[in-house]
Symmetry: C2
Subunit: 237 residues, 2 copies
DNA sequence: GACACTCTTTGCGCTGGGACAAACAAATGG
DNA sequence: CCATTTGTTTGTCCCAGCGCAAAGAGTGTC
């Protein structure tokens, strides 16, 4: 499936013109290249797959790639367009899933490892702190990614459902019958989270209330039928 | 404007129960706390402001905060809800603007510096590489943030305009008269970037073409009146 | 208890843009 | 050169959800 042809000898000139490396000394570039390998992709081919195990970053030297997410309903959303000179495939390193990427044009990348010596020393010495820090960034990125996909493909009702579930999950609690958002939240707030209006949110909650799915009041929302809500949130539009 | 009351003596017990720190030795926690200061915020107050110069991260120990973006038209979009145990205010450190945050409930945070010694050594030694790496992550986060805001507040036409401009800017080229997207792009692609449909994209481009703003063909789009496009993209809903 | 706020609900009309359908046009390939 | 595939345009219909407007319902304060 991977259609790249690894190249054997990597020349320093590959990197000297790419901004992130241009300031480095030759010695440092060599150190990086010793652990790197270069790949070429032709237009339209797969750069990497969903969830692929990446112990490395990729730096795009030439061309464009796009990262794509596919909804449960089969719709595509282009999550990112990455031009040359940027890193990609970093999600895994931040503790999260990577999504499939394809080459928009013929492209060339190199796979890099971090300059390892100091990095490992750093992570080891401050063990929990460093890795948890990265996890935070990873969570943040993953969450934004999800919101983009939702906004692109889902109806307002589903987005509201997702938002409620997210607010509960975020606190680390289980979504259970009778669970309440544990801080005051207004219809206005919810609308600002979902990209809707307070009127529409109000109507939606009213409808849910009639079906017994939630119970809500002023600045307060309690989920009565979490399972129903999950079904609704995951319905394929 | 900042309404926090700094606390003087920081006790280790503050951190020992917070996941990212729980694995650390007392020695390490002390080292972190020596450079940290704690702050309390009451409900609804400002945690930090737009563009505030943050040489530190903040770790939320208790409560909830939200990060808010305000559109040129004055609409609010809730960009993030942050529960306790997570870092916030990291955007600046990743090389990008921070957005204002307020406390949703009474909240407590501590301001941290990175464990500095090794970190500085790391960044210094690999100068360009490390900082540019962070820039990549920062750019990615900022871009996603923008897309969320756009999806929440803008009409399809504006989002298409923004997407085109982004594709051009991303390549590092100036947006100029007659500039062309330098790789083949279909209506379908554009629709997947903007969360629309290929039909709507086609109609929109047709309309623009009639006004002389763009010239487009099969898998090709050229911007004729970049200024018009910018105006359109920035129009307040 | 009365007044002022703030938050929520509901009705109604209107429209952006999605769904469906059907040509049309440009590439590709035998 | 004709056939097929891939991408684009356009028409028609229709509805989710926004905007506007106005009336409840809680909360806080004097």
């Amino acid at each position: 499936m991977r259609n790249a042809r690894p190249q054997s000898r990597l020349d320093e000139s590959l990197l000297t013109n790419v901004p992130p490396f241009s300031k480095l000394e030759t010695r440092q570039i060599r150190e990086i290249l010793d652990l790197a390998s270069s790949r070429r992709y032709s237009e339209g081919t797969t750069v990497f797959q969903e969830g692929e195990d990446a112990d490395r970053f990729f730096m795009l030297l030439d061309g464009y790639i796009r990262v794509v997410r596919i909804t449960p309903g089969g719709e595509q959303v282009i999550a990112l367009h990455i031009p040359s000179g940027q890193l990609f495939g970093i999600a895994k390193a931040l503790g999260h899933t990577t999504y499939p990427a394809t080459a928009v044009t013929a492209a060339e990348s190199i796979a890099l490892s971090w300059p390892t010596r100091l990095w490992e020393q750093f992570v080891t010495e401050y063990d929990g702190f460093a890795s948890e820090t990265y996890k935070t960034v990873g969570i943040r990125v993953a969450e934004m990614n999800n919101r983009i996909m939702e906004m692109a493909t889902q109806q307002v009702e589903q987005r509201i459902a997702k938002s409620l579930l997210r607010l509960i999950n975020q606190t680390g609690r289980k979504v259970a019958t009778g669970i309440e958002i544990d801080f005051p939240i207004t219809r206005q707030d919810l609308s600002e989270m979902t990209g809707s209006t307070l009127h529409t949110v109000s109507r939606t909650l009213s409808a849910w209330e009639k079906q017994g799915m939630v119970s809500s009041g002023r600045k307060r929302i309690t989920v009565c039928e979490p399972h129903e809500l999950v079904l609704l949130a995951e319905a394929t539009g």
